[in-house]
Symmetry: C2
Subunit: 122 residues, 2 copies
């Protein structure tokens, strides 16, 4: 595995932002530093960074995958009333798959409901 300017720029970008980005968004951002970087290069590096556990990915109901340079786990709460998205820490109990002998490398937890603010205003 070689450290290329392209790979470094992609990882650096993801680590500099606390947000999720699609491959195309990453492509557009990195192009400001490396104007002729190829979209295929972005995809290839994202795949290998994922495999190395340097970044994580989030699949949504959108048809594209989002990538995140912040590895520390957190869950999301989506308020069905005000549509706000909140972050919460992940609970730290041993998960059911782990109890069954599976190796869990990543998990995604999304809660749907009504947030405190919306609850109070009713």
């Amino acid at each position: 595995m070689r450290v290329t300017r392209q790979r470094s720029a992609i990882l650096e970008f993801l680590r500099s932002k606390r947000h999720h980005y699609s491959a195309t968004q990453i492509y557009d951002a990195v192009r400001e530093k490396i104007p002729n970087i190829s979209l295929g290069t972005v995809y290839r590096n994202l795949a290998s960074l994922l495999e190395d556990g340097e970044i994580i990915s989030v699949e949504t109901s959108d048809k594209c995958v989002y990538y995140d340079g912040f590895i520390s786990g957190h869950s999301h709460f989506v308020c069905q009333c005000c549509k706000e998205i909140y972050d919460f820490p992940l609970e730290s109990t041993t998960s059911e798959p782990e109890k069954a002998g599976f190796t869990v490398s990543n998990q995604r937890v999304v809660y749907y409901g009504v947030c405190k603010m919306c609850n109070q205003s009713k």
Copy 2:
């Protein structure tokens, strides 16, 4: 919202199997009953069944979405090695959002990792 043969057949198929199917797999299965059903019809109905909460979906690192007619609370485990999707019970602790005074009406939990079988074969 009208109850059509197509919509019923899709829902019936998903409820008859305790497994997860992609839109194309559902299309192939339902075509045995309704040979000239359109793939677009499958997608449209899956989207509305999802919105109504009659089915649930699982996003994987594959580029297609999987649908599930078994909606009682359970979590999913996606094996990154063999791509199989396993069901697990949901843990019953009080969730972090509930501790914070939020009302949780639904939650989706997906674990990613390597299943027991793949772990053993290495």
